[in-house]
Assembly symmetry: C2
Homo-oligomer: 197 residues x 2
C-alpha cells in the first residue's frame, strides 16, 4: 500500500527507528481513533509553530526568553554550555545546577565539515561580551567524544579573554556503574580526574 509505505518511510527518518518499529507505528496510527490521530497531528503542528529558540541561551522555548533565563533566582554569573537542548534538560533534572545555560545545537566536527559557524557559538561570545564581566564561570558540559572534546577546546580558546574561570564537568565512572565493566578510556579519565578526600 502506497500510503502505508509513505508513513513507514517518514517514520524511518526518526532517530533510532528501524523498519519493524516504523511499521508498528504506522499500524498504531491506522488502529487509533480519529480524535487520537487529530490530537497527535495538532500537537506536532503546535510544536512547529509555537517553539522557537530563546533569545538568550538558544534553548528551545515557547516564549522569546525561556523560563530559566527569565528566572531572577538563577545565578546569571555561571553559564553551563551544552551541545543539545536535551543535555540542558538532563542537567536541570539533576537539580545540581542553579546557573544559566547556553545551548550550542551541535558540536564542531571537522570530519563532517561542521565548523564553528554551524553551532550557536557566536551567540555565546556575544553574550559573554555584553555581560561585561558579569559572567565569572563558564562550565563546558560537552559530550565525552572527539567532537565534544574539540568543541570544548575551541570554546575555551575563544572565551578565556572574556571569562575569568572556564571549567569542564567531570568525566569518570558513573554512579551505580560496575567498575570492571567500564571501558579503559573512562577508567583513564576517572583516574586522571581523581580528587583528594
Amino acid at each position: 500500500m502506497k500510503s502505508l509505505d509513505r508513513v513507514i518511510a517518514a517514520f524511518r527518518r526518526f532517530p533510532g527507528v528501524g523498519p519493524k518499529q516504523a511499521e508498528r507505528f504506522a499500524m498504531y496510527l491506522l488502529r487509533s481513533s480519529e480524535p487520537e490521530t487529530e490530537e497527535f497531528m495538532q500537537a506536532v503542528k503546535a510544536l512547529k509553530t509555537s517553539v522557537s529558540q530563546c533569545g538568550v541561551c538558544c534553548d528551545y522555548s515557547d516564549t522569546p526568553v525561556c523560563p530559566v533565563c527569565s528566572d531572577p533566582n538563577r545565578d546569571a554569573s555561571v553559564i553551563c554550555v551544552v551541545q543539545q537542548p536535551q543535555d540542558a534538560a538532563a542537567i536541570e533534572k539533576s537539580g545540581a545546577f542553579k546557573g544559566l545555560y547556553h545551548v550550542l545545537h551541535g558540536a564542531i566536527s571537522p570530519m563532517e565539515g561542521l565548523g564553528a559557524g554551524s553551532i550557536r557559538l557566536k551567540e555565546l561570545l556575544e553574550r559573554l561580551e555584553s555581560s561585561k564581566g558579569g559572567v565569572r564561570e563558564l562550565i563546558l558540559a560537552m559530550d565525552p567524544d572527539t567532537e565534544g572534546e574539540a568543541t570544548a577546546m575551541y570554546i575555551s580558546g575563544l572565551a578565556k579573554e572574556l571569562v575569568p574561570r572556564i571549567t569542564r564537568i567531570a568525566y569518570g565512572v558513573p554512579l551505580g556503574g560496575d567498575l570492571d565493566y567500564m571501558d579503559e578510556v573512562t577508567l583513564g579519565h576517572a583516574l586522571k580526574g581523581r580528587t583528594k578526600i
Copy 2:
C-alpha cells in the same frame, strides 16, 4: 514547555515508546526542516483518509478490495486466518503461501473482556458461507499464546461445518534458533508436532 510536553505525551502512546525515545522524537521534529515535517504530516493524513479495510479479507487496503484478494492467480480455495495485518504481511514476505488471507484484527480474550464480536469473525463466517464450499482449507495462523489458542479453538468450532479441512501452522523451534536456549513450552510443542522423515 507545554507544546513539547504535548508532543512527547502523544508519542508515549505509540507502541513500545518510552519517555526517552518520545523526547528524542519530539526533538527530531523540532530540528527537522519545514518540508520534512510537512511530508510527515501529509503522509499521516493520507494514511488515515485513504486506507480502509478490504471488503473481502478485512486487511488494510487503499482499494475497496485489496491486491491479494483481487489477484486471479491466488488460490481462493485456501484461506489463512491471522490476527493482525502485520501477520499477513510477514507470511506474504515468506513467499510460502499462495492462497488468500483473513485478518481478524485481534484475538478473543475473555480476560480482557474481548469476545467474538470484537474481531472480524462474523466476516470470516459469512465469507465461508457465501463461498458455498469453494474454500477447502482454513489455515489458522494465530499467535502462540493463550489468546491465540482460544481464538483458534473458537474458530475451528464454528467453521468445521463450513470447511472440509481446518489446519494450524506448526509451532516449534525457529530456524537458526539454538535448541538449548528454547523455552520448555516451545520444546514441548516441537516434540508434540514432530513429523516423520
